[in-house]
């Protein structure tokens, strides 16, 4: 099932169910299609697809890294995190991080942070980059304790913050 939504991202079934329930709430409170369309537009802007911040530790990490800057998401050309939906061995989970953002001295991706919500040490890695790399494409392998969201969040030299998220189902605990 794929449905195209106004901001141009493919919708998976999970998001569709969430959106549908939000729209249903909107319909209950107001009449007509326009209200539900308005609500859908709002949820798109605020990141319908974004995972909730699960606890104070993640909230603190995000605040220390990005302060009050908005963490934008939903544009795979700016930040794409590619991980398996199911990781049978949590000791070795592949990660691919890619961005098409420019890498010029005037404007470049200066850091990519990898945060695993329910790992013992959630801020797993920081990759500090320079324009000399030319392209943002990083691959590595990480450990995951259990099923959780993984956040890849980049910041540019001009202060923009872009994120992508992956929900990974972990079968075997890789952290002890």
């Amino acid at each position: 099932l794929e449905v195209t939504v106004p901001f141009g991202q493919p919708f998976n079934r999970r998001d569709f169910v969430r959106a549908a329930s939000l729209v249903a709430v909107g319909l209950a409170g107001a009449s007509g299609v326009s209200a539900s369309e308005r609500l859908l537009a709002v949820t798109a802007v605020t990141g319908l697809r974004d995972p909730e911040v699960p606890n104070e530790e993640i909230a603190r990490i995000l605040k220390e890294l990005f302060g009050s800057r908005p963490i934008r998401s939903g544009d795979k050309s700016k930040m794409a995190l590619d991980m398996p939906a199911v990781a049978e061995d949590g000791r070795v989970v592949p990660v691919i991080i890619e961005s098409n953002l420019p890498m010029t001295p005037e404007n470049y991706v200066k850091a990519v942070h990898l945060i695993v919500d329910h790992n013992p040490d959630p801020h797993l890695a920081a990759f500090h980059l320079t324009p000399a790399l030319g392209t943002v494409s990083i691959q590595t392998r990480i450990k995951m304790k259990r099923t959780t969201w993984v956040r890849a969040i980049l910041e540019t030299s001009t202060g923009e913050v872009w994120a992508d998220y992956a929900r990974v189902n972990v079968t075997l605990n890789g952290c002890g």
Binding site: R91, L133, I138, K143
Partner: protein, 112 residues
């Protein structure tokens, strides 16, 4: 992996032309112990992991990675490089015990 701790490899494409965007693949042998595990005899295994990787190209720092023990055993990392000069590409891995491991490869351009 049977190699000794700190054994590292960096792989570049066989043929590189000036200005190419090339992929750099690296691996280093390291246990990346989290400190959460115990031996079969019940002794705790202390944390021992690569915490810092510095990449230089022609002596200039072009990337720096800060890691935790959440990176898998025998860490691999791949990244892109804009090959705009013939110069050594060097990676220095530093672990939480202060050991450093260095590997260098030369970026050279194939003559057409």
């Amino acid at each position: 992996m049977s190699s000794a701790v700190g054994d590292a490899r960096i792989r570049l494409p066989d043929r590189i032309a000036r200005g190419d965007a090339v992929i750099v693949n690296s691996i280093i042998s390291h246990p990346m112990d989290t400190g959460f595990f115990r031996t079969a005899e019940g002794q705790p295994i202390p944390a021992w992991f690569i915490k810092n990787v510095v990449v230089t190209y022609g002596g200039q720092e072009i990337a720096r990675f800060e890691w935790t023990s959440g990176i898998s055993r025998d860490p691999v990392v791949s990244f892109m490089l804009k090959a705009d000069k013939e110069a050594p590409l060097t990676m220095v891995w530093t672990d939480n015990k202060g050991s450093t491991f260095t590997k260098s490869v030369d970026v050279t351009f194939a003559s057409a």
